[in-house]
């Protein structure tokens, strides 16, 4: 199994309360799968994604990727591990303002940055800074940054949430195209963007409520 989680829990505590953002989730993801994670706000879908991506450490449980347990890696080693195998896309593009599109992609790693920008139809933005581009263009550049090293898994957290419908469709189409053959995990509350997904996980109150093939959209 490529990516496996066992009895994952993420608990936030303060003096008075205890919140289980992720509560006993176990799952496995095979190579090449396109997995959608759906659920209402606060259901723990983003938290689950961050745990699976090694961006957050679980309160208990274990995540393994290619048989490597994240818990066994030191902080910097885990960062290197993420860099070697994963790509990330967030709701906000998080492009670096003083870098051009091309440089932002290169900040993600070495690779065919120029070709990728062309593939994502933002080659005209090659030398533009983020503040000179539209929201859709910025998100496509952030996709280029995520996949420039040809990662084995791409994690996307609400990648279209800040876009209008036509732009959302374009971004998802681009994302599917450049991650073809790779594994893609997408967190969203908009089921319509999960067209072509091999599985859809439904989260409710931190628990995995359903693990199903995608329904008609």
């Amino acid at each position: 199994m490529m990516l496996a989680a066992r009895d994952l829990r993420l608990t936030y505590r303060d003096a008075a309360t205890e919140v289980h953002a992720v509560d006993g989730v176990s799952l496995e993801v095979r190579e090449g799968e396109f997995v959608g994670i759906l659920g209402p706000s606060g259901s723990g879908k983003s938290s689950l994604l961050y745990l699976l991506a090694g961006l957050k450490a679980p309160s208990s449980g274990e995540v393994r990727f290619l048989d490597q347990s994240y818990g066994a890696l030191a902080q910097d080693a885990l960062a290197e591990f993420r860099r070697a195998h994963f790509g990330f896309i967030f709701q906000n593009h998080f492009l670096i303002n003083h870098l051009t599109s091309l440089e932002n992609v290169r900040a993600g790693g070495d690779g065919a940055s120029d070709a990728l920008l062309g593939e994502l139809r933002v080659d005209s933005c090659r030398d533009k800074f983020p503040w000179q581009m539209s929201a859709g263009e910025k998100q496509r550049v952030s996709i280029a940054r995520a996949v420039v090293r040809r990662p084995k898994v791409v994690f996307a957290d609400e990648p279209t949430a800040s876009l209008d419908r036509p732009n959302a469709g374009l971004v998802m189409e681009c994302l599917r195209r450049v991650t073809q053959g790779g594994t893609l995990l997408v967190v969203t509350h908009d089921e319509s963007i999960l067209k072509g997904a091999t599985r859809v996980l439904r989260m409710e109150a931190g628990r995995l409520a359903a693990d199903l093939p995608p329904g008609p959209s």
Binding site: A79, E80, R83, F88, F94, I96, A146
Partner: protein, 377 residues
């Protein structure tokens, strides 16, 4: 080029870092100008002690006269080349820290030439003082310092505020590496010609054999019935005043370094806070904290180095102009390069860098990329 290189950041964010660069540049400039001037002034005043590399003065301890046996004992010492009978005579020398007395060597004509040879002095203009006259010859730096020209007269008869009784006339200008002043021994020693001669204590100029001044001074310090004025004392006299001034300016410089470093460190911290999204995303996509730390250190180092280089260039330009226009024409031969100001000014970016690095380490250690990403949506 690496998009995350300090150079790219500095070039693209020049306006942002400009205030910190300007502050640092001007403080480095201030430190260079002030410390170069103060340190240089001390060095330029120490030039007036150079003659004591060749000879020392011996005065009577209790009486106004030195015992003949004592002079004979001194003359017989193997480190002594010559003992020259002399008298007291000085000019009021204007310096940046106020007037100081500069002693002339009262000597006979042949002895004047001998003393000049020993300190590589030459007659630049005019003539040496004639025997039995109130004529004097002064080194060109002394002339410049007082703004005097050939033919100028000094002494209490000319200006009652002067410190030297009588009237003296400058007839010669000397040049060479060692400031020297000469006057007639015969004139100062003759009560019929110089009414104040009785009040002027005897002294002898004890000239060492070349390279044996230390041995000579050790011997002279052992004499019971005489006082000695040598290189150590003359340097002490000059240094005392300057060391106090330098102490004050060092304190000011250190305070300035600490305050400016804190300000620059604070500005750096604000920059870091403004770029927190950038660091969060870089961390999320797999850049290690160590790499981010190196990146920030590199950016800060570039800013500090740039400010220091600009500050040095500006500082030395201002100091050079001040030296050329104000100091040198006034006979203050202040050296241009001095290690002290360079080192102190280098401490400024170094401390600021240290402060910035320490605070950034703390912030980076606590940085949780997910918290930032979730907050920004």
């Amino acid at each position: 080029m690496d998009p995350l290189s300090p150079w790219t950041y500095g070039r693209r964010n020049f306006r942002k870092i400009l205030p910190a660069v300007i502050i640092l540049t001007f403080v480095v400039m201030l430190v260079v100008v002030i410390l170069s001037t103060i340190a240089g002034l001390k060095d330029s005043s120490l030039v007036f002690t150079r003659e004591f590399d060749e000879w020392s003065l011996v005065f009577p301890k209790r009486d106004s006269r030195l015992p003949k046996a004592l002079i004979a004992e001194i003359a017989a010492h193997p480190s002594v080349d010559r003992v020259i009978d002399s008298r007291n005579c000085w000019v009021r020398l204007r310096t940046l820290i106020g007037p100081i007395p500069f002693n002339l060597r009262a000597a006979r004509r042949e002895e004047m030439e001998y003393l000049m040879t020993r300190v590589a002095a030459r007659l630049k203009e005019g003539a040496l003082p004639k025997a039995g006259t109130s004529e004097v010859a002064l080194h060109e730096n002394l002339m410049k310092a007082n703004g005097w020209t050939l033919g100028r007269e000094f002494g209490m008869e000319v200006d009652e505020e002067d410190w030297m009784p009588g009237r003296f006339r400058i007839v010669g200008i000397l040049e060479g590496p060692t400031p020297l002043g000469l006057c007639s021994f015969e004139y100062l020693n003759n009560p019929l010609q110089y009414a104040f001669s009785a009040k002027l204590w005897e002294r002898v100029v004890v000239v060492s054999k070349p390279g044996r001044i230390a041995e000579l001074n050790a011997f002279l310090r052992g004499l019971k019935d005489a006082k000695i004025y040598d290189k150590t004392r003359s340097v002490d006299d000059v240094s005392q005043g300057f060391d106090r001034i330098l102490l004050v300016f060092r304190f000011i410089s250190i305070t300035l370094i600490i305050v400016v470093s804190l300000v620059v460190g604070l500005i750096n911290n604000i920059f870091f806070a403004q770029r927190i999204d950038e660091f969060a995303i870089l961390l999320a996509i797999g850049h290690t904290k160590r790499r981010l730390f190196r990146m920030v250190v590199g950016e800060t180092a570039l800013m500090m180095t740039l400010s220091w280089a600009l500050g040095l260039a500006l500082g030395y330009a201002v100091f050079g102009a001040f030296r050329g226009i104000v100091l040198l024409p006034r006979g203050i031969p202040i050296p241009f390069w001095h290690l002290g100001p360079l080192l102190v000014s280098a401490a400024l970016p170094a401390v600021a860098q240290g402060f910035a690095v320490v605070t950034v380490i703390g912030r980076l250690r606590r940085l949780d990329p997910v918290a930032i990403i979730e907050r920004r949506g």
